[in-house]
Symmetry: C2
Subunit: 342 residues, 2 copies
């Protein structure tokens, strides 16, 4: 493929977003940004899986309410989560009755859903699309590791699955979209496997995928890290972020001065008593940080041009038990502030 | 949404397809159609999950070989399967190093992947895309029900997960695509839940989703069942097909004379000793039947205008254990023979 970077045919805006989080996320440094939260993490449901679905419903509901739209105003839902067979999304979004395409990109799904929504809106296929993703610490722990009641010891490189859901509404600007954040370009990632087999070190598995995506993007566009206000990775955490910065420096494009990671932004460090070890992870991590902390800065023009790189580890517990290493992926979305462009 | 039907902006063709199946599928009535098979169902791998991944690799490899293309000639992969976290696709397609977007639509994923590939090729975003899906009876049985060694008794309404993978190559006709099967229109399905809780009767859960999609399509386009040579559902099986036909007749558009179902085509009836009960199911079912039995008839102009409706049940074993009913979805792809159009 000569140029893997794709530009939506018509201008596409993220015109509204909303987030819904649990107790620990609300108490974290970004707590004030989030739209909805539940201190008990249950969201009134009897099962953790039900709680995760309810977060998706609440996040999309909140986004629609903020935009003063009804579900019939949205032409297409693009959604996914980490649960087996993506039941967080299928149950959570059932009541909206919007045509629905399910995605699986592990923790990169927020970026994947925005990427596809922007191309479909930009191609004139749909007027408005919603991109929704979630993760829940308790449903993820018992599915991927141990039930939380077991009290399993966590390694220093392990990350903490964020309890949260983010919903983004996108619209083709030609059809009246009034948002001030534009999806300027997107680039799908490739699955990359560098042989990491430690399921408690997802950051190390995902960092090479982020490097591959950044390297291909910079080559294809002739840009460099300094051209951007921010290079925001999804959930590499402390370990993966350090590895990515080292890899980028070795590849000749150091990113230290512009790099940040949603998994590092959402919780305080362990030295402040957070017990989150290497930081946040999960589909919900990058979704809620982007929706509620980063987008407002783009809307105000505080940030003008950023690369958002959703990172995901494409494994499951059985693939690890069978001795396989962890393929990872990183999808890129370039977001610009329309304040700056006009 | 005023009109949920979407037409690719430029003409898009499925210019090549290939399939890879297991023992029982090869011995079935369509056995001669399939490109590759392994009588032992292992495809030389040590685990059933590895076998499923290997089928995806073989199917895409075969499609590329038939088209005389290399992996770098394909701009984008759209793929998915039934395994937790879609590891069939991520491991199976890793070696191609093609930008990859993972999908989850349960057994509707073949239709979902063709739908998205046609819109992205038709929008001019990519020149060529590949849509790949799979299921494997042994990996699905142990994940969704019991390991096959357990010998669990199956109910009469239960379906048999097909061991198979199908790969489709799509190209925008303006960029030189020479195939003779056009993706004329597509329509994403809505998640529909009519309260079915019996995980051994997926046909009953999925039939109402197929009805919803057909009903919306006929209303939006002003067409009727008699306008098509074939209305092909993915894997409703015997039980679900009967329910869909009854539902369509009650809704005023009987489909009996043009309806067929991939799950009914792939195996002989139990009266002939097949032991497949209500028929085939799984992502691989509609993928291999479409790729190797239906597409050749469109290529030759024997079929001229068909509706392919991928059906999927969006549950997992835990959602069933927690007492939830089974939301389902049906994505529509209208395929026409270019022989007829020109």
């Amino acid at each position: 493929m000569k140029n893997p970077v794709i530009t939506p045919t018509r201008e596409v805006r993220i015109f509204c977003a909303a987030s819904c989080v649990g107790h620990d996320e609300k108490k974290g440094p970004l707590g004030d940004c989030f739209d909805l939260h539940d201190d008990k993490d249950t969201f009134g449901q009897k099962t953790w899986e039900g709680s995760e679905s309810e977060m998706q419903r609440l996040a999309l509901n909140a986004a629609l309410a903020k935009a003063k739209l009804k579900s019939e105003d949205i032409d297409l839902l693009l959604a996914g989560d980490l649960l087996n067979q993506c039941i967080g999304s299928s149950f959570g979004l059932l009541s909206f009755q919007i045509p629905y395409l399910g995605l699986y990109g592990a923790c990169s799904t927020a970026a994947e859903s925005i990427l596809l929504a922007s191309l479909l809106c930009g191609g004139g296929y749909v007027k408005r699309a919603a991109a929704v993703t979630s993760s829940h610490n308790c449903s993820a722990e018992r599915q991927f590791r141990y039930p939380i009641e077991y009290g399993g010891q966590r390694t220093p490189t392990s990350q903490w699955t964020v309890t949260g859901s983010g919903a983004f509404l996108l619209e083709n600007a030609a059809s009246g979209g009034s948002g001030s954040v534009q999806v300027a370009q997107v680039m799908p990632g490739r699955a990359i496997d560098k042989g990491i087999t430690d399921a408690n070190n997802m950051g190390a598995a995902m960092a090479p995928a982020a490097l591959d995506t950044l390297d291909r993007y910079f080559r294809a566009t002739g840009t460099a890290p300094s051209d951007f206000d921010l290079i925001l990775t999804g959930d590499l955490g402390r370990e993966g972020s350090k590895i990515l910065r080292d890899l980028c420096a070795a590849a000749g494009f150091p990113i230290d001065s512009v790099h940040s990671d949603c998994g590092l932004l959402i919780y305080p460090p362990d030295s402040a008593g957070a017990d989150k070890h290497a930081g946040g992870s999960g589909c919900g991590c990058s979704a809620v940080v982007l929706a509620s902390h980063i987008l407002p800065q783009l809307e105000k023009g505080i940030l003008r041009d950023i690369l958002f790189i959703g990172t995901g580890a494409l494994m499951n517990p059985m693939s690890i038990q069978q001795g396989n290493s962890i393929p990872s992926i990183a999808h890129l979305v370039r977001l610009t502030s329309v304040q700056d462009i006009n």
